[in-house]
């Protein structure tokens, strides 16, 4: 089955083509689109499971490379379009196709009444194609195809309802900010080619330890540029600003792309190139540091957001920060572990929010109200109208807050323990640990706030709208239930020895991370320290949840249209520390000025149009005019000129 792994890419690609054709010719054929769109994903998932079982039966020591064709035979660079199947890519494969199938199924219900139904599924299938190319790629360029492709699909899907300029702008912002990161990726690729002479991952793992001395400037530069790409794709400081705006897209898109899969590409990249990061301790510390800072920073912003999706967006940024703490510390397996559990509970939370928004839209549509269906101040007390959604979102909240025995507890805890352990080497990791703990507290707080504002208390939607609030249809609640179960028991894949588990994921990923661990070994805390850390983390989570619940209930919340503006610190948080405005002033405005005044007026109009094009024309005309003065029509003049010429030739020949 491993050799058939290309089917996982080919099936969604066929789905894209079929749905795309339907979108153009027969947009109303929603049933066909549903079957094709979801069907190919489920088929891809089955193939992924097959591949995984293959690997389980005989775990490879080095990756299986399935070559599709020779892509770039250019002198010393002989690059194939090939897929690499090893333990890490198998895990990613399962996550992408599995969670992807569930989200596709959810979309059938969510997007049912949208006229762009076929186009939506076409784009969604295309996204899966590129994401799988990204995780399966056996070399940097192939991965880059996927990297760029998911950026493209992200743009297409964020701006799905492009008739509203704000949505189109959000799509553009996402793509452009990503591009800055892509620049980093490309520079890193060039440097790797220059130093190592190979662009495949296996080649890199073989040659890097020999070529790079530990901590050398070359490998540090490479890893920092790679990380720049990660900050773009995985929304870390400083390139995270696109993710909250990306909430303009449909909610299942936010769930799939901006929670479970695309944004995790950066973490996957660091895990894949773990050899390089292990050889560059400075970069690893930078990775962990930025991760920690982002985790805390985003968590503070989420405290004061009122749009339900924005809270989840900042939550995603924050959790991605955790993943980067994990891979920055050198505990690549725990970073990947959190990636998997986060995919489960964040998708659950987003889809749950989707159900809520779906119901709110229905209610407002029925009463022709223009209130914001996503603003939590308009919600409240939805537990009685949507009980299933409530319980499932409660599971998600407990998971993200890190309450045992839910999955988030195990993964988050392992990351924090790793950071603490590294503190023994480098004191700054203690600071990262502290930031992580603080962020955990805030995470629990704002998630409890979200849950309380939305589902508990009294309903603020309005008298008439209330009657139209109802639970989501089974096609939407089904995937939620599956994700709920996964969020609950997902921790089992990597239970630590503390609770008698075998740390299965860590051992599973060992062949992939072994090389990196040659350069340092991570001594995880055990015994007394471990109990203390675990206990502390659980206590923090419960404290945060409780505080969030009480604080939100105690406050008097009014519907959004009647709410007063925030002031002071709350205002700064609500306005996301004005980062967007700062970027606009420092970067965007000068660039636009440069483009408009210098490049357009001076260079394009003045130099290119004026001097080069028009100037050449004027010169030709001038020369032509000059020449025309010779044509007097008088024979006498012609004869004189003729004789002058003849005389000259004669003179030249006589000599």
């Amino acid at each position: 089955m491993t050799s058939l792994v290309w089917l996982t890419v080919a099936l969604p690609l066929a789905g894209f083509l079929a749905n795309g054709a339907l979108a153009i010719r027969r947009p109303a054929a929603k049933d066909a689109v549903s079957y094709i769109g979801v069907g190919v994903l489920i088929a891809a998932f089955i193939v992924s499971v097959g591949v995984f079982i293959d690997l389980l039966k005989s775990p490879p020591h080095s990756p299986h490379i399935i070559t599709l064709w020779r892509w770039l035979p250019v002198g010393p660079l002989q690059l194939d379009l090939a897929f690499q199947v090893d333990q890490l890519s198998a895990v990613m494969l399962l996550v992408v196709t599995g969670v992807g199938s569930l989200i596709h199924l959810f979309s059938v219900g969510y997007m049912k009444s949208d006229p762009g139904y076929a186009r939506y599924f076409a784009y969604l299938n295309l996204f899966v194609v590129f994401m799988l190319v990204l995780v399966l790629g056996s070399s940097f360029p192939v991965m880059f195809i996927g990297w760029e492709g998911v950026g493209l699909c992200s743009y297409l899907l964020i701006g799905f309802w492009f008739n509203d300029k704000a949505n189109a702008d959000a799509g553009k912002k996402a793509f452009i900010v990503n591009r800055i990161g892509d620049f980093g990726f490309m520079v890193a690729m060039f440097l790797i080619w220059h130093h190592l002479g190979t662009l495949t991952f296996t080649g890199m793992t073989d040659r890097a330890p020999a070529v790079f001395a530990s901590g050398s400037a070359a490998v540090t530069a490479i890893t920092l540029f790679l990380f720049l790409g990660c900050t773009g794709k995985s929304a870390q400081i400083p390139l995270y600003t696109w993710l909250p705006d990306a909430m303009a897209g449909p909610t299942p898109v936010s769930a799939l792309i901006h929670a479970a899969t695309m944004v995790t590409a950066g973490v996957y990249l660091v895990a894949r190139t773990n050899v390089l990061f292990a050889l560059a301790p400075v970069s690893s510390t930078v990775v962990a540091g930025i991760g920690a800072l982002t985790a805390l920073f985003a968590a503070t912003i989420a405290l004061r957001q009122y749009d339900i999706k924005k809270v989840l967006a900042y939550s995603t940024i924050s959790q991605l920060g955790y993943m980067f703490i994990g891979v920055g510390t050198g505990a690549y397996a725990s970073g990947v572990f959190h990636l998997v559990t986060h995919a489960f509970f964040k998708a659950l939370l987003f889809l749950g929010a989707g159900s809520v928004i779906h119901a709110m839209h229905h209610a407002y549509h029925a009463t022709h109200s223009h209130a914001d269906a996503q603003d939590m101040r308009n919600m409240g007390g939805l537990k009685q109208y949507m009980p299933a959604t409530f319980w499932l979102m409660l599971i998600g909240t407990l998971a993200i807050a890190g309450v045992p025995p839910f999955s988030g507890f195990f993964s988050k805890d392992e990351i924090l323990a790793g950071a603490f352990a590294r503190g023994g080497d480098l004191l700054i990791y203690y600071v990262f640990y502290a930031m992580g703990i603080l962020a955990a507290l805030l995470t629990a707080f704002y998630m409890a706030r979200l849950l309380t504002m939305t589902f508990l208390g009294e309903n603020r939607t309005g008298e008439q709208e209330r009657h139209h609030l109802h639970e989501a249809p089974p096609v939407m609640t089904g995937p939620l239930i599956v994700l709920g179960v996964l969020s609950a028991i997902g921790g089992m894949i990597n239970l630590p020895p503390l609770v008698g588990g075998g740390a299965w994921l860590e051992h599973w990923l060992e062949p992939v991370t072994a090389r990196a661990h040659q350069f340092f070994a991570l001594e995880m805390p055990h015994g007394q320290t471990e109990y203390f850390l675990v206990g502390g983390a659980v206590a923090i989570s419960l404290l945060g949840l409780f505080a969030g619940y009480r604080a939100t209930l105690a406050r008097k919340i009014v519907p959004a249209s009647e709410s007063a503006e925030d002031t002071g610190v709350a205002r700064v948080l609500n306005r996301k520390y004005y980062v967007d405005e700062v970027y606009d002033a420092i970067i965007v405005r000068p660039l636009v000025w440069l483009s408009r005044t210098v490049l357009w007026r001076v260079v394009d109009q003045g130099v290119v149009d004026g001097a080069a094009v028009n100037g050449t024309a004027k010169l030709s005309r001038g020369l032509g005019w000059l020449g025309s003065r010779l044509q007097t029509g008088q024979v006498g003049v012609y004869v004189v000129l003729f004789l002058v010429g003849a005389l000259w030739i004669l003179h030249a020949m006589v000599r």
């Binding site: 007097t632 008088q634 024979v635």
Partner: protein, 98 residues
Amino acid sequence: MLLGPSLALSAILFSLGVAGVLLRRNAIVLFMCIELMLNAVNLSFVALAQLHGASGYVMVFFVMTVAAAEAAVGLAIIIGIFRHKQSVDLGNINLLRG
């Protein structure tokens, strides 16, 4: 042998022909000066035939033939122009002015 003086005479006649072409505005006189130039060249050919063989005479032969043809056609054109403009003054003929 009269080669040197013949060539000198030829040069002088040719220069006179050129002067005539430059100085006169009457089209027919212009043509006649051109004929003068052709004659000068014929003299040159004949003089050099003594050194270079009969090909000199052959050239004279052809030059005369072509001069005849050219004179015929050229004069026909001048007649045509005269019909239009009632004069053969070349100073007035500048329709090809650009």
